[in-house]
Subunit: 195 residues, 2 copies
């Protein structure tokens, strides 16, 4: 997606060798018009898959997931990361290892909203080591739901998450795949085979 | 907003005297079409206010805020609740007391994205005791930004947050104000003066 790659090139900030900050349009400040185009793109890529639910993880996945759900005309579920007394006690849950924060967190989806009748599309902002998607796959398996695939806004192609998930037979569509990046002068190069 | 009140009546679940669960369309599973209508409504209510940024708190505020930002054609900022090594160190921050979880949490907004040139509209899913809005007001004050007001999806009119914030001279537009609710038979009554 050229528009996205342009925004990453002009606004992305590389820190060290593996952190890409895009918090001017995706992770902290969000550009709703860009999210709309991203949602339309994912909806178009998975239009013929009979998707009944879009599933993401709070918080940064919510914006692209919401607009994908809008254009697929299906509900969006955001898996919760924290225990809240407002969440149902009957949940599917999975442990996710976070390389960014260190340690593990638990994601939860209420059993009310995901069943064996569902076909799900996962949406997330980043794909790096793939651990968040593995957690979502575990939740879909617990629910007995069919997985149509995953839509990822930015994939770090130099990390192993993409091949890990694709080797499981899961369709992954990434709108921008970063081949390499460097802090020096914020150089970012893309795999040009992406949408 | 009649459509919203209908959804609260048909899907809301009351627990005890003060918890209203609307996680089938707002807090966990989200209905993107309803969020679109909510975004259009807030955008229309605040259309003439020269808003430059919509500001909310992760996670449940993101969906209505994103679509409000889309129809106002301005960026949306979600204040972060957790420290992440991906967030700028230069932040505005405020402590928010949570009655739902007990204890305090810190909300943060990067100084990059909010300045004295901004006019902000706050969007949140719930207004109960008003502590989240107080935190956002503190952040706007630190930035020197003008506050156009707050758009709230569901206000618990039987709690003191609405009067607290309005008495500070802040315009608050709530799409549904609950006058009273009861667990028994899930009775919910609305203040009919709302939009």
């Amino acid at each position: 997606m050229d528009l996205l790659k342009q925004r990453i090139r002009s606004e992305g900030r590389v820190i060290g060798t593996d952190i890409l900050k895009v918090d001017s349009f995706l992770n902290h400040q969000v550009d709703p018009v860009l999210m709309q185009k991203i949602g339309q793109e994912f909806a178009s890529l998975f239009a013929d898959q009979g998707i009944t639910k879009v599933v993401t993880i709070e918080s940064s996945g919510i914006a692209p997931a919401l607009l994908t759900g809008l254009y697929l005309n299906v509900p969006v579920i955001f898996a919760k990361k924290t225990e809240s007394r407002n969440l149902d006690t009957e949940t599917y849950h999975a442990a996710v290892h976070s390389f960014t924060r260190g340690g593990e967190y638990i994601i939860r989806v209420s059993k009310r909203y995901l069943t064996a009748d569902d076909t799900v599309l996962f949406i997330d902002d980043f794909l790096a080591r793939g651990r968040a998607l593995l957690g979502l796959l575990e939740i879909a398996e617990q629910a007995g739901a069919r997985v149509a695939g995953a839509g990822v806004v930015i994939e770090k192609g130099f990390q192993d998450g993409g091949s890990l998930i694709r080797n499981m037979g899961i369709r992954v569509e990434s709108l921008a795949i970063i081949k390499a990046m460097s802090e020096e002068g914020t150089k970012i190069s893309f795999d040009e085979q992406t949408n």
